[in-house]
Symmetry: C2
Subunit: 215 residues, 2 copies
């Protein structure tokens, strides 16, 4: 089997915005975006990795939520998904937004131009890598040991790998909220249909799942 | 986490028929039902376990197809899903419809009133068990080592476990074909909504996914 590069559960507003501007330690999605506006659909499912109480839905959205880890052997993420710092890593004590038990449970390759030693939190090891998308993907594929690689975002990272034509499948969730300004994945999902098949699946929760795979 | 008992990818006609009558070695779904009328949706996906060539869709139907094995540690099936024989097992040489590499890759518990020794084909071990549904489920849960148990069918077996109120989730696919006569899961999916939440999700392939989970 091929090792796919997959975007999963990536959520944008109805106008294609994935995050606001002005990211900070307190506001990972920017000063004017509440992540709950986008990710409510996932938080309501039984399989949401951060769920601490029993319960949750087991309908359509749950299939997407639980596919998050299925056959994934590594993740690639942009630096801004790891933390709000810019420039050299001055503080090695702060080890990312993801807590002591990050939900990835695989090697994670964080894109950065600045060196930093790898470290492990629970089942997740963060590596800090510089390089072209194709080179980073080759590293992640090797670490994934035959499994697929998740392209975790943020939006700039997804666009960079799309521009390099390295993405095999995308699952993009469009939430019923208009954000207006911010970091945009697309003006319209149709922008990708020259290279990808597209299925559009409305969920009872109010979001619309967009499933893309290579033609 | 609980160990769920899950029905997955179970496909019926628009009038609720899962199999025809007159099952034989040559016609596992009965003399008047071509399995392609029901299962075309799964065969078209990239993740169909019996796929021998590359390709296949990676849209909505593929999420369901690939969830088949996800977090499943054992299967329970009725005798008629294993083979067309009735009564005592006279021929131990014939080892079921599933070939040398059955797609289950877990312990499988085959319901039968007639003893037969367990055997292994590739990653799948078939056990032949008699007993009440709750007792068989307890055996399967133990074998599943913390993972969920798939209730594989056929239709009589699904109904038997529903009657015993042992099923936690069901994914039932309704195919756009009317069969008229045969072994019926339901007259209408609404029959289950007293005990289960229901989401109905149409697929571009023409089938409609029905997702049930306990209230």
């Amino acid at each position: 089997m091929d090792q796919l590069l997959r975007v999963q559960n990536f959520t944008v507003s109805s106008d294609g915005v994935a995050a606001g501007e002005g990211q900070s330690l307190e506001r990972p999605f920017g000063h004017d975006v509440d992540p709950g506006q986008l990710f409510f659909w996932a938080g309501a499912t039984a399989s949401w990795p951060n769920r601490t109480e029993p319960g949750g839905s087991r309908g359509l959205d749950d299939y997407f939520a639980r596919d998050f880890s299925h056959n994934i052997g590594a993740e690639i993420m942009g630096r801004n998904k790891f933390g709000p710092q810019r420039g050299p890593w001055n503080d090695h004590e702060w080890r990312g937004w993801w807590g002591d038990e990050p939900p990835f449970r695989t090697p994670v390759f964080v894109l950065t131009h600045h060196e930093r030693p790898s470290f492990t939190l629970s089942d997740t090891t963060f590596h800090f890598v510089d390089g072209e998308p194709a080179d980073v993907l080759a590293q992640a594929r090797k670490a994934a040991q035959g499994k697929d690689v998740r392209l975790g975002g943020g939006v700039s990272t997804v666009r960079e790998f799309l521009d390099a034509d390295l993405v095999d499948t995308l699952h993009v969730v469009v939430a019923p909220v208009e954000l207006g300004t911010g970091l945009r994945l697309w003006d319209s999902p149709e922008e990708l249909t020259d290279r990808f098949h597209l299925e559009v699946v409305p969920s009872p929760s109010g979001v619309t799942h967009h499933l893309f795979w290579r033609k």
